[in-house]
Subunit: 177 residues, 2 copies
């Protein structure tokens, strides 16, 4: 079978939230200065050919104005209708069948984005790389990154770095069983 | 008023747990090698004169055999009876009155230990320093560090480092309002 590499790159508060309860990402502004620091996002995206993204995150991204996934194959995880604006397709249900289909379409490096999608990927044991960027804030409440039916798993630290803004970013690779 | 400094030094899984659901800390063994690396614990403890510790964590610590708080004033947060073995005293209810009393007893640097205690300290806005050591494991389930009634708060990164075991440790200082 084709070897796919599935990566998660996500910002999280110190207490594990990826958005406020209403979905707002305004709190990320504490680490967004002049825009010259992108926390390795562009370099990461350059390695990616396919984006698998949850519906909520997709809708949020559409609101950004500029489409950040130009030149990438994009699959939105949703069971609701969607009017593709940039050639997106949709998928619902488990990730494994989607990945098998993507492998046949010569996908190799997949970016799994959005809380529900990440949890599903972890629940199915499909995530190879986990890049966490901890934002120096306690939100207290919000939408959690983890939780649900994620099984225990071990990870190996690849790199760790910190930024003047106070972001701590660590990259982990799934440990072999 | 006397200036107390209240610090939290705690290990947490990548998904924010400090113990399994049954209280077990066995998963910390993935980063405990020959025992030569203590992740700065001794150096941190050398700065501490007083330990304020939750009852569950205290009971766990008693089970370790050796008492790790020799020479420190220790206050156990509990409303249940306790037979002091090392001169411990107890306190129940809010932390603020305890801290005022401790200030009069010339306490200066306080180590706040245990999930419930840390959450209470954060809820009361009393924590000055937060030292988090992320263990490279997803537990999936367990006793969470955060949650409950913690208000939003901003933090400044002081130091960040990683260890060969994969531990990422970051020290934060509470941002002024």
């Amino acid at each position: 079978m084709v070897q796919l590499q599935i990566s998660v790159y996500i910002a999280v508060s110190l207490d594990g939230f990826i958005a406020r309860e209403n979905g707002s990402l305004d709190w990320l502004s504490v680490v967004q200065g002049t825009g010259s620091e992108d926390y390795g996002y562009r370099a990461f995206m350059d390695t990616i050919d396919t984006v698998v993204i949850g519906r909520n995150t997709y809708d949020t991204v559409l609101g950004f104005g500029e489409w950040p996934f130009k030149g990438k194959r994009v699959i939105v995880l949703t069971s609701r209708p969607l009017a593709p604006k940039h050639g997106e397709t949709t998928h619902s249900g488990e990730l494994q069948p989607l990945l098998q289909a993507l492998g046949k379409l010569s996908a190799r490096r997949i970016y799994l984005d959005g809380g529900t999608s990440v949890r599903r990927g972890l629940a199915e044991g499909l995530v190879d790389d986990l890049i966490l960027s901890w934002i120096p804030i306690l939100l207290g409440r919000g939408r959690p990154l983890f939780g649900g039916d994620i099984p225990e798993s071990g990870w190996r630290l690849s790199t760790a770095k910190s930024f003047p803004s106070g972001v701590v970013q660590a990259s982990y690779r799934r440990s072999p069983e």
